[in-house]
């Protein structure tokens, strides 16, 4: 399996990548004083594994035909993806200051036309996996070896259209499609498990015909193994990784908050959060 990151000789560990993604995200959230920082801290490990272990891409050519595609359904997670794109060298670090500002290339909800590396316009939940099905079909038409990764959320599993795509991906044997679900059990109105998701998501996806794995989404070693399994799985079926994450992971005083979907942080708390992160910088 081709893997540019592994063969590029980088000696930066995945833990350091995830740390950097969290730190960039905190810096961006500080610009606005609020935002979906809970999700960003939660998925930093999934993004680090995607961008610095699994995916093939060229930082200086985000539209390189041979790249793996990364489709972010959940537009409000853009803050997390911008952080990963900065760490990957696709976006410049000095644009952090513009996050969510007028004329910024980094709007609060991710849109394809605004940002290099932001492949689709997300935000209307339940569309990403269907678009990914079409792209996976298109890549097969072109005999491409690229994968399509779709990051979706547990709340998004309530959208019926997600399941249309789940069924179609099996029908078309899309072994080049990898769905990564951020299961943080937190949607806008409360716990996802009290809405439409179930504790048995992986068996559900498997019952539909997917190769489904369930992992601790904040355990880098487990994520690496799951992503490797997903890419190397020999059977002609789509692949899902249900990643159980903790909102605000890495910043204990934020993790302790009850409602974390969209959090407000006092002005002085940003520095505190970044200081906590800096104390724990991986070697």
């Amino acid at each position: 399996m081709q893997n540019r990151r592994e063969t590029s000789g980088s000696n930066v560990s995945l833990a350091q990548r995830a740390w950097a993604i969290r730190r960039y995200a905190l810096q961006m959230a500080e610009v606005q004083g609020q935002g979906y920082i809970g999700q960003a801290l939660g998925v930093a490990d999934m993004l680090a594994t995607s961008y610095f272990h699994a995916m093939d891409y060229r930082p200086d050519d985000p539209e390189w035909e041979g790249r793996d595609r990364f489709y972010l359904s959940i537009g409000h997670y853009a803050i997390a993806l911008y952080a990963a794109l900065i760490e990957a060298g696709i976006l410049p670090e000095d644009e952090i200051e513009t996050y969510g500002m007028d004329d910024s290339r980094m709007p609060m909800s991710g849109m394809a036309a605004y940002t290099p590396g932001m492949e689709i316009t997300g935000g209307s939940l339940g569309q990403g996996l269907g678009i990914a099905v079409g792209a996976a079909l298109g890549l097969k038409r072109k005999s491409s070896k690229s994968f399509v990764y779709n990051m979706l959320s547990d709340g998004e599993l309530g959208e019926g259209s997600t399941w249309e795509a789940v069924m179609s991906a099996v029908q078309w044997k899309l072994d080049n499609l990898i769905a990564i679900v951020d299961f943080n059990n937190q949607q806008a109105d409360g716990p996802t498990l009290e809405a439409l998701a179930t504790p048995a998501e992986a068996p559900k996806w498997a019952a539909f015909g997917w190769y489904a794995q369930e992992v601790d989404g904040n355990d880098l070693a487990a994520l690496v193994e799951a992503f490797d399994n997903a890419r190397n799985h020999p059977d002609p079926q789509p692949r899902a990784i249900i990643c159980h994450t903790k909102m605000c992971k890495g910043i204990p005083f934020l993790e302790a908050r009850e409602s974390t979907h969209f959090i407000r942080v006092e002005a002085d708390e940003w520095a505190k959060a970044i200081a906590i992160l800096d104390e724990d910088k991986p070697l």
Binding site: E119, S124, G130, I131, G134, G138, L139, G160, S168
Partner: protein, 348 residues
């Protein structure tokens, strides 16, 4: 207080009369073609045009949500089975997957019924396709009142819905000749398109006028001095026949055919209307709200063209089920009704 359902809704459960065997008019089913009304027909113009295009265009693919047979896309599917994607009964997926294929460089033609595209899949067309200006061609059968199945299948407000979407080109072709030409034209158009389809044996109306479809252009099919009828879809066929009937009564009607609903050819429409001395009548197979008629009215008002104006369209209602000829008469879009209404407006 809970209001009983029976009093909330008007009941259609009233038996009018049982017709004699010879007078019965069968319900026009989904698969029926529009009556050719004395013209020759051409079979499946959309499907055959797409097959022809695909010979030289490797990037063209077809998708349907379990309605390839009823949108004539099955002709393409049979000719190019490897380029046809059956997406199942899933319109949200149909639009999203078409967007994904377009992202990868293909030009997808996605077909379903107009009701399902306009009502069910709107957000997917908006965000997955139109917002990114992707070249997905959404081609939909059963536009307006072309089935007797009732409101579940009658797309009487599809143009109103689709006109509201930025980036989207909206077409309402008249006949087989135009569907053939428009299919080829939209394949060459960069952005997303919504096109209404007539399927099966489709009348050849415009052939005798030497018509050539041009995207974004309204064209004068027939000159006239008393009335200017601006029409789209099969209502142009009806308007041409109504003009013949009115000519025998000494009323001269011009027919300006405007198949591109958006972007509307406001320049041609306004300059024709501004010539003056003619009653302007719009004629469309669509609700009176938000279709060609209101698009024309808006264009005229914005251009300060103040002329007598009337609209022939379907009422703002969920329409009845029944046989198409009955329904077209009931809702005032037959040749006879068009002619009679224009005469009454002229006499008023």
């Amino acid at each position: 207080m809970i209001i009983p359902p029976s009093s909330r809704r008007k009941s259609k459960y009233t038996l009018r009369s049982v017709p004699e065997a010879g007078d019965r008019v069968a319900t026009s089913a989904m698969i029926a073609s529009l009556d050719a009304e004395g013209r020759d027909t051409i079979a499946a113009p959309f499907g055959h045009a797409l097959v022809d295009l695909a010979k030289t265009r490797e990037d063209i693919v077809g998708l349907s949500a379990d309605l390839s047979k009823y949108t004539d896309l099955h002709i393409f599917a049979e000719a190019h089975p490897d380029r046809f994607y059956q997406m199942g009964m899933a319109e949200a997926l149909l639009m999203s997957a078409a967007a994904g294929l377009a992202r990868e460089g293909f030009v997808p033609f996605a077909t379903t019924y107009a009701v399902f595209a306009a009502r069910r899949a709107y957000d997917f067309i908006a965000m997955a396709i139109a917002e990114e200006n992707l070249p997905v061609k959404i081609c939909c059968a059963l536009p307006g009142l072309t089935t007797g199945y009732g409101p579940s299948h009658q797309a009487t407000e599809d143009l109103a819905i689709m006109r509201g979407m930025p980036n989207l080109t909206v077409l309402d072709p008249c006949d087989a000749v135009e569907i053939d030409q428009a299919t080829r034209a939209i394949a060459d158009t960069p952005g997303p398109v919504y096109m209404r389809l007539l399927r099966g044996n489709v009348p050849n109306v415009l052939g005798e006028y030497g018509y050539k479809f041009e995207l974004g252009r309204a064209q004068m099919i027939h000159e006239g001095s008393d009335v200017l009828i601006i029409s789209s879809g099969f209502m142009t066929m009806r308007a041409l026949d109504a003009a013949k009937a009115l000519a025998s009564d000494g009323v001269s009607c011009a027919i300006l055919h405007s198949p591109t609903i958006k972007p509307l050819d406001a320049d041609t429409i306004c300059s024709e209307a501004a010539k003056g001395g003619r009653l302007v009548v719009t004629a469309e197979n669509h609700s009176i709200i938000g279709g060609l008629g209101e698009a024309v009215a808006g264009a005229l008002m914005r251009a300060q063209v103040h002329v007598p104006f009337r609209q022939i369209a379907l009422p703002d209602e969920f329409l009845d089920a029944g046989a198409l000829p009955t329904l077209h008469d009931q809702y005032g879009i037959t040749v006879e009704q068009i002619a009679a209404r224009i005469k009454s407006w002229l006499e008023a």
